[in-house]
């Protein structure tokens, strides 16, 4: 029996390999009591694997896990919870048709056959203690993603975890929700619990964490107090070289109007999803559409791209009325659409790179394989895609390479109006850097770009004008210089009107 001052949870020499791919190599990681500890790294650096090992989801190939100084073996997440180690995954594990309270006690071995009648009070008081407002009787499917996340956290608090891992928790939140999440995390830390925040956003690390551990290529490259570092230093540690993530905005006065949308309405299964939207994008300009997911952005983008039929209004691309005339007419008018759903909508995941390259182009009635393969080979080279060749299946590529192929195809030929949804979502820092400089370059070359994203930082870093979409309407418009984060955030939450 060893006792160590490493803190409440420590992993020593953790190693894990998946089918020949090293995810963790000789990782040392320690969490102290009452701290907020950021685990920072690019996609595929091994952050989630490490957290999953330290909470019992995966078993390590090598290494030891110590909880309060004692070596333990975690065979399942249930073992992890027994040692009071919990994790909120990026994709929530909630039963949609159950209530909040039912989800909180789900899988709790202490519950009998009949759920305790005090349950609702217990859940509500746990929430109140840390400022997590949740109605225990609400059904999960009625809650926003931010509220669902609170349920996940309450679930872990109900299990009385000492160490809580949160995997990319801010990806689905508005700025205000991020702030209140951070308040909750600080309250938990003040209460003596430890929080591990898995993220690739440097700003968050500096805003909330006491210490930061940086991972790169399956290894820990640094573990330092945040007071001794800054975003530039962290970016360099994370990527292994200096990166340029400075804001980029248009340098010239925008040209003529290339995309004009007037009084556009789109109906969905649950009623009207886009309501009387009017906007224009000029040559050499990026207009950012900010908003929380599910406020009609997808329907707007699909109506523009021609894959969804609008119920009213007009869409004009380069002087051509393309309203409701289908994706081919929209493309012929010069519009290119990079959907948020890359694998499955933008690309056919089970087909080869060459097949995907010719997906939206002109295809001959018979043949054309050789031509497609040559074109794919050229794109692979030009856009720095890591692939063995044009016959590689797209599904087997990493997220960053998938996005490169989609962008390569859509931004290569003839597009003057670009509708681009969440282009950097899920990408690592190098991928983000690549996409941002590509969009900036296309803007300077005179393209009119509509950038739709839930990530306000992405929009603020690229757009020249920002509009906020809430409940199918554009509720706020600001030049990027005049945009105040609080004002934008309130508009995204539907609080402020025009």
């Amino acid at each position: 029996m060893t006792v160590d001052d490493g803190g409440v949870l420590e992993g020593r020499g953790i190693g894990k390999t998946f089918a020949g791919v090293v995810a963790n190599a000789d990782v040392d990681f320690a969490v102290r009591q009452g701290e907020i500890h950021a685990l920072l790294g690019e996609n595929g650096a091994g952050k989630t694997t490490l957290a999953s090992i330290l909470t019992g989801l995966y078993q390590p190939d090598d290494g030891t896990i110590l909880v309060r100084g004692h070596a333990v073996r975690l065979r399942s997440p249930r073992d992890g919870l027994a040692h009071r180690l919990g994790m909120v995954h990026q994709h929530f594990h909630l039963v949609d048709s159950f209530t909040v309270a039912e989800n909180v006690v789900l899988g709790d071995p202490r519950q009998g056959i009949v759920l305790s009648r005090r349950l609702h009070r217990t859940v509500a008081s746990l929430g109140e203690r840390y400022g997590l407002a949740v109605d225990p009787r609400a059904t999960i499917s009625d809650l926003s993603l931010g509220e669902q996340q609170r349920v996940e956290i309450v679930k872990m608090l109900y299990r009385d975890v000492d160490v809580l891992f949160l995997d990319e928790p801010t990806a689905v939140l508005t700025p205000q929700e991020v702030d209140s999440l951070f308040t909750v995390l600080r309250a938990m830390a003040a209460d003596g619990r430890s929080v591990v925040l898995i993220t690739h956003k440097l700003g968050e690390v500096m805003a909330v964490a006491d210490r930061v551990t940086v991972m790169r290529d399956a290894r820990v490259v640094a573990s330092v107090p945040t007071s001794e570092t800054d975003t530039t230093g962290l970016a360099r540690l994370m990527v292994g070289r200096a990166v340029d993530l400075a804001d980029r905005h248009g340098t010239r006065t925008p040209g003529p109007c290339m995309l004009a949308v007037d009084e556009l309405c789109v109906d969905g299964a649950q009623g009207r999803r886009v309501q009387h939207v009017g906007l224009s994008v000029r040559a050499g300009e990026i207009v950012g559409v900010a908003g929380v997911a599910g406020n009609g952005q997808l329907q707007l983008a699909e109506a523009l791209a021609g894959t969804r039929q609008p119920s009213a209004g007009r869409i004009v691309v380069n002087g051509v009325d393309i309203t409701g005339r289908g994706p081919r007419v929209a493309r012929a008018a010069g519009l290119r659409y990079v959907p948020e759903d890359r694998l499955g909508t933008g690309l056919a995941p089970g087909l080869s790179i060459a097949d995907n390259v010719q997906l939206t182009g002109r295809r001959p009635l018979v043949g054309g394989r050789g031509h497609a393969e040559r074109e794919a080979t050229a794109m692979i080279a030009r856009f720095g895609v890591k692939a063995r060749g044009p016959r590689d299946i797209v599904r087997r590529l990493s997220g960053g390479n998938v996005q490169r192929i989609l962008l390569a195809r859509e931004l290569s030929a003839g597009g003057t109006v670009l509708v681009i949804a969440s282009p950097t979502r899920g990408l690592d820092v190098s991928g983000i850097e690549f996409v941002r400089s590509l969009l900036d370059e296309r803007r300077n070359a005179g393209a009119a770009i509509l950038l739709i994203s839930e990530d306000l930082d992405e929009i603020r870093g690229l757009a020249d004008r920002i509009v906020v979409m809430y409940d199918g309407r554009l509720v706020l418009e600001r030049a990027v210089g005049g945009a105040d984060v609080t004002e934008l955030g309130l508009a995204m939450a539907g609080v402020a009107g025009r």
Binding site: V72, P327, T345, L359, T360
Partner: protein
């Protein structure tokens, strides 16, 4: 403890070696089944192999049995490969048979031989298309499940064929058959020729030609490309401006056409009359098994159809073994076992099995 681990690389030989190993496993299971029933498995397997492949008549019978399966396997492969579940090949085959027999009876005397035969084949194709058209339109325009509609239409087709022979004095019924109703014999000019004095008829050749045509259609044409995109991801197809309605219609219509030709080939090549009891014996459903074993590959369907055809013949052969008592159902048992083994073994192409001991740690 056994664990599955994704293979970092997939050696090409696995695509063949895994299913072959699975077939061996199924045969071993069948051997246990036979031994448990007091038979000598080696003896029976040897007899099955001899009856299917080692005698002239055996080979002929195997190929004759394989002929309809080439078509129905192809019909299933065209649809299932793109996640369209046309389980109505049985009905489409029967209607194809009715139509081609009808055309042969009406035109066989009046027209020159080649033309009558071509029109009879075309009528069979059209019958299959007609039978799949309503489910195809309902699926393409309304999203109705084609599984339900095509399946139910099978019963309608089979009953229609029975009615034409047993229930009415129709064009198809032989007016001279007094004791037991049977189909009117087709004029020789509209029959498919037999190959070189065997029972094997030109339907087999036509089936293989169809397989090659379907393969070429899917691989080298724009329609085939659209179908592959649709099969992989319907959302990507609509994103690219491919008409999903047209792709669904095209695939189901081609599938139904090939199934209709199966009926034409049976009627014009083997039975030479409309024979409801000999026509609706489950070729449509066995075709689904053939397609699955061929991994829905249009060319793969041909050898698999020969294998499955031989297997069903072998069942009849062992039934008449001296000593007796071996049920013909052994071939059905083996078919089922092979299907389950091959489908279940597919995971081994992408994954490897690792044996790992759980080590204990002192805590």
């Amino acid at each position: 403890m056994l664990r599955l681990e994704r293979r970092a690389t997939q050696p090409a030989h696995l695509v063949l070696s895994v299913p072959l190993a699975a077939i061996t496993g199924a045969l071993l299971l069948g051997a246990l089944f036979l031994a448990a029933n007091g038979f000598d498995p080696l003896l029976i397997y040897a007899e099955m192999a001899r009856a299917s492949f080692a005698t002239r008549y055996g080979i002929e019978d195997s190929l004759v049995s394989a002929t309809p399966l080439v078509y129905t396997g192809l019909a299933a492969a065209i649809a299932f490969r793109f996640r369209l579940y046309n389980v109505g090949a049985e009905g489409q085959l029967v209607v194809g048979g009715i139509c081609s027999a009808g055309a042969a009876l009406l035109l066989g005397q009046a027209l020159p031989g080649g033309l009558a035969l071509a029109l009879a084949l075309l009528a069979g194709l059209a019958g299959g298309v007609a039978w799949v058209l309503v489910p195809a339109l309902a699926r393409a325009r309304l999203g109705t499940s084609e599984i339900i509609t095509t399946l139910l239409l099978n019963y309608v087709a089979v009953l229609l064929a029975r009615y034409l022979i047993f229930g009415s004095r129709s064009l198809w019924r032989d007016p001279t058959a007094t004791n037991f109703p049977q189909g009117r014999a087709l004029p020789p000019a509209s029959q498919l020729p037999e190959l070189g004095g065997t029972q094997i008829h030109a339907g087999l050749v036509l089936g293989i030609v169809c397989a090659v045509l379907v393969f070429a259609l899917l691989r080298w044409t724009r329609a085939g490309f659209d179908a592959r995109v649709f099969g992989d991801s319907p959302a990507a197809a609509s994103y690219a401006g491919i008409s999903v309605t047209m792709v669904v219609l095209l695939l189901l219509v081609v599938s139904g056409a090939v199934a209709g030709l199966a009926g034409a080939s049976e009627v014009l090549g083997r039975a030479h009359r409309l024979d409801p009891t000999g026509l609706a014996v489950g070729f449509g459903y066995t075709g689904i098994i053939v397609a699955a074993l061929a991994r829905y590959h249009p060319l793969g369907v041909v050898p698999v159809a020969v294998f499955v055809g031989a297997l069903s013949n072998a069942g009849t052969a062992v039934q008449s073994l001296p000593g007796g008592g071996v049920p013909a159902a052994i071939s059905t048992v083996l078919q089922g076992a092979i299907l389950i083994f091959v489908l279940a073994s597919e995971i081994h192409v992408a994954y490897r099995v690792r044996w790992r001991r759980l080590e204990r740690t002192a805590s």
